[in-house]
């Protein structure tokens, strides 16, 4: 489970979309084109639906955005003026259309909880999340996949048991507890890693922003000290997220591998005298690549939502905190903007694994 925060495991076990099975070669190109168009259409529809749902949620939520703008001491007159200025007196469909028109022009409006344009905020908070999610997923994959494969290969052996316990602990621990304890141990007591925040204070604002990913920006600037500093800050939260995605990825890998290892071709290969390593990595593992990539993509996608609790504990200025805070303040511009970004990423990742599936899956050929 790669995303322990609020909802259950990410994309858990959502099976890859069933690929079509083109019967005739002639038909294939046409089908592909049509399916591409279909994909694009469903993507657009999904995003539109996403926006509409978010918009409606924002309007029916009993949190009054005007209050955030005018503050606690506002008089009724000030309140009314702000209410109108925000266009809340218009019917909801008009508000939605107006919003859509602005979004299509690339204007996400201004956030009322930060006072900044939403686009500018997103350019700042999303890279922070991307950086954390990428590293977390990387750790999850590097450890989780081998662990899952070995656990399957030696089913019931000690590695399998250890892998199971490791994964179950990962499933079961509240992240804010682990996070604070990790900070206490590795930062407070051992001093091995950097503290809360993305950077040490001396490096704050020292590296010019190119991508927004501090690790990359510091490399671009050739500033090794800044890179090390940023790395020492990201290591702990990323390991934590990595641990949760490891738990999920290793379980899924194990289950995929078990299925392959009981298949006939594996028995045949073994009978033919292929070494166990060849059988496992050369044959079985190659066959689980596609569903595995889907699983990893989904797990990555859910990390991109930003894990609010991790972000709070580590003072990480990511998109999860941003959206949560905005939501609780009724700051719908920020919530909508954030949802569009996260939703687009999710849909794009889905699409990517879908395409990969069609390209790689032997049955689809």
């Amino acid at each position: 489970m790669a995303q322990p925060d609020i909802l259950g495991p990410p994309g858990q076990g959502v099976p890859p979309p069933a690929g079509g099975m083109p019967s005739a070669r002639r038909a294939r190109l046409g089908r592909r084109l049509r399916s591409l168009a279909g994909i694009a259409l469903s993507l657009a529809l999904t995003l539109l639906g996403l926006l509409l749902v978010t918009f409606v949620i924002g309007r029916i939520m009993p949190i009054d955005p005007v209050l955030k703008v005018v503050g606690e001491r506002a008089t009724q007159a000030q309140y009314d003026a702000a209410y109108q200025a925000m266009g809340l007196d218009k019917p909801i469909w008009q508000q939605f259309l107006r919003y859509m028109a602005e979004v299509l022009r690339g204007d996400f409006g201004r956030s009322i909880s930060t006072g900044h344009p939403v686009a500018q905020d997103l350019l700042r908070v999303f890279p922070a999340t991307v950086e954390l999610a990428t590293l977390g997923t990387l750790i999850g994959v590097c450890v989780g996949v081998p662990l899952g494969v070995v656990a399957a290969a030696r089913r019931g052996g000690w590695i399998d048991q250890v892998a199971r316990v490791v994964a179950l602990v990962g499933y079961s621990m509240p992240i804010f507890w682990l996070g604070l304890m990790g900070l206490l141990l590795f930062y407070g007591i051992l001093g091995w890693v950097g503290g809360p925040g993305r950077q040490g204070i001396i490096y704050d604002g020292m590296v010019p922003t190119v991508t927004g990913l501090i690790l990359i920006d510091s490399l671009v600037a050739g500033d090794w000290a800044a890179f090390r500093d940023a790395f020492s800050h990201i290591v702990l939260p990323a390991s934590l997220l990595g641990y949760f995605s490891l738990a999920y990825i290793s379980r899924m890998t194990r289950s995929f591998m078990l299925e392959q290892l009981s298949a006939e071709y594996v028995v045949t290969a073994r009978v033919k005298g292929l070494s166990e390593g060849r059988v496992i990595w050369g044959h079985a593992f190659r066959n689980i690549l596609v569903p595995l990539i889907t699983v990893i993509a989904l797990s990555f996608g859910s990390l991109l939502e930003g894990s609010v609790l991790t972000e709070i504990v580590f003072s990480w200025p990511g998109i999860g905190q941003y959206i949560t805070k905005a939501l609780l303040a009724g700051d719908m511009n920020a919530v909508l903007g954030g949802t569009v970004v996260v939703g687009t990423c999710f849909v794009a990742l889905n699409l990517l694994s879908d395409i990969l599936y069609r390209l790689l899956d032997p049955r689809a050929k």
Binding site: G191, V193, G242, S275, P317
Partner: protein
């Protein structure tokens, strides 16, 4: 299995992900922050604007305070000395008490290099009134409106002239001018960024255009504010060349940063964390009395709470001492008057104490033996704990308290709609004059549901007696300070007798600093934080 490859792959992968951090993070533990930089861990996610005409949040005002100067101000090293000249060198009040003329200091420049003129000062006040954002009411109290402010606030040469609608007490007017909404803005710079009729509001929300000791380096919401010293500051360049305020939500995280020497100051430690660092000789704890009051409002719309005996009994169901010595320890002190200590005219009588038997007696005499009331509290630890303590005490006299936790925005929404039976929360003064609290706790000119007022008395549906309303109004006009003090003492005395809005505690801000940080002030009960006088040994 014969082949060992999977195991090796596993170990290699684990080694890569485990060893990389070890080798790369040798520099992680730092001894201290740079000598010319002040680093502060603070919850600053409430900032929504840095425009003095709009900013109304605690952390936002902290920033505004350093970016701008005001006509008059407090001395950060001697807050008790009261109002001192700042950009205005001197002032005089006319015979009838309705005109105040302030003379500007010569030779002061904005950070842009433009001179600070009387025109800038007058324009700053005018625009605050015209913008009509949250803090505008502080100025509007003197009879200014968007329509008349151009005639009422004027300048002449190097003098700013304020024409008030009533002969207000001089201390009242000056105290209001010292608040952040009175900041003097560089008109030329601001107007060059104006969009439509916003007087530069959009631009000033994220930029600074003042003459203050610090310029805005960067503000990344929910992340950090960076201030850079103004080397040409008219009262001398600040010692700290950079001030970095980091948003750190969790007290535990703030404490770890402090203990590791990664920050100089931590401002949001919980009582237990403050106790936890007490033994650390590299750190010191600074207690500073602030102006915020933790109070309990009993809505007079509620049939049970509107009975005077019930109000009286509730005063004895609050475990003041118990809370003060446990979860509020060191950060709130018992204070049962609406004027905070440090304010002109603040009373210091605390007549009520936790007394279940007395409360029971009062209730039985009135024939109240059971009942259910609801409280809506903000999801802040102290409030929720206070509510639970009250819940347990009420249970002992047969009353049921239902607690509902909500987010800040939702509680405020319900409170504004007068739908909170028991409100437990804070009130922070808006400016350094006693009227700021008197006019909200003890003043309610119109108790009708549709009046839409912002007074706490109105929100608790309390029809303030006419003579108390008048007394509060009269106190703003009293020119003699001693008499004014007595008037407030009288109001508070009567208030303690009858009011259903019960002040309970006053805030003490516990700031924990590295030993070498000197001259820190969070602004006391009257103003905001100041950085310019801070030094490091």
């Amino acid at each position: 299995m014969q082949n060992r490859f999977p195991l090796r792959a596993l170990l290699l992968a684990s080694a890569v992900s485990l060893a990389a951090p070890m080798t790369l993070t040798v520099t992680a533990a730092q001894a201290e922050t740079p000598a010319d930089t002040l680093v502060i861990a603070h919850q600053i996610d409430d900032i929504i604007s840095l425009d003095p005409g709009q900013s109304f949040e605690f952390s936002g005002q902290d920033v505004v305070h350093s970016l701008y100067d005001r006509l008059v101000d407090f001395d950060p090293l001697d807050l008790n000395a009261g109002i001192k000249p700042s950009l205005a060198e001197s002032w005089e009040v006319s015979e009838d008490g309705k005109t105040i003329t302030l003379t500007m200091r010569e030779g002061v420049t904005f950070q842009s290099g433009n001179p600070v003129r009387a025109e800038d000062a007058a324009w700053s006040l005018q625009r605050a009134v015209k913008l009509n954002k949250s803090p505008a009411f502080i100025l509007n109290q003197f009879g200014f409106t968007a329509e008349n402010v151009d005639e009422r606030v004027t300048f002449d040469g190097n003098r700013v002239i304020l024409q008030l609608d009533q002969p207000y007490a001089q201390s009242f007017v000056l105290n209001c001018l010292a608040s952040e909404v009175g900041s003097v803005i560089d008109k030329e710079t601001a107007m060059s960024h104006a969009e439509g009729e916003d007087f530069g509001n959009a631009w000033l929300s994220t930029n600074g255009a003042g003459s203050g000791p610090y310029a805005l380096g960067a503000w990344r919401p929910n992340e950090a504010v960076q201030l850079v010293a103004n080397p040409d500051y008219w009262q001398g360049a600040p010692t700290m060349a950079r001030v970095i305020v980091r948003h750190v939500q969790e007290s535990s995280a703030q404490r770890l940063l402090l203990e590791q020497g990664d920050v100089d100051v931590a401002r949001n430690l919980t009582p237990t964390d403050v106790e936890g660092v007490a033994g650390n000789e590299r750190l010191k704890v600074l207690d500073e009395l602030r102006g915020r009051i933790l109070y309990m409002g009993l809505s007079q719309k509620d049939p049970l709470l509107s009975r005077p005996e019930m109000v009286e009994a509730m005063k004895y169901l609050i475990d003041y001492a118990g809370m003060e010595s446990s979860f509020l320890k060191g950060q709130w002190k018992v204070h049962q008057n609406f004027l905070p200590e440090g304010y002109l005219g603040a009373a210091d009588e605390n007549p009520w104490s936790y007394d279940i038997e007395k409360a029971r007696q009062i209730l039985t005499d009135a024939g109240i033996t059971s009942g259910t009331v609801k409280t809506i509290v903000r999801d802040i630890r102290e409030y929720v704990d206070a509510a639970q303590t009250l819940q347990a005490a009420m249970a002992q006299v047969g009353l049921t308290l239902e607690i509902q936790q909500m987010t800040g925005a939702q509680v405020l929404d319900a409170y504004r709609a007068r739908q909170v039976p028991i409100f437990i929360g804070e009130w922070g003064p808006d400016y350094a004059d006693p009227n700021t609290n008197a006019s909200t706790f003890a003043h309610n000119p119109n108790n009708a549901d549709d009046a839409g007022l912002s007074q706490l008395a109105w929100r608790n549906s309390w029809a303030v007696p006419q003579e108390m309303n008048q007394a509060v109004e009269a106190a703003t006009l009293e020119g003699d300070t001693d008499k004014r003090v007595q008037m407030y003492l009288d109001i508070q005395s009567q208030y303690r007798e009858i009011a259903p809005i019960i002040p309970m505690f006053q805030k003490i801000e516990q700031v924990v600093l590295q030993q070498n940080v000197q001259n820190w002030t969070s602004g006391g009960s009257v103003t905001s934080v100041n950085y310019r006088q801070v030094t490091k040994e």
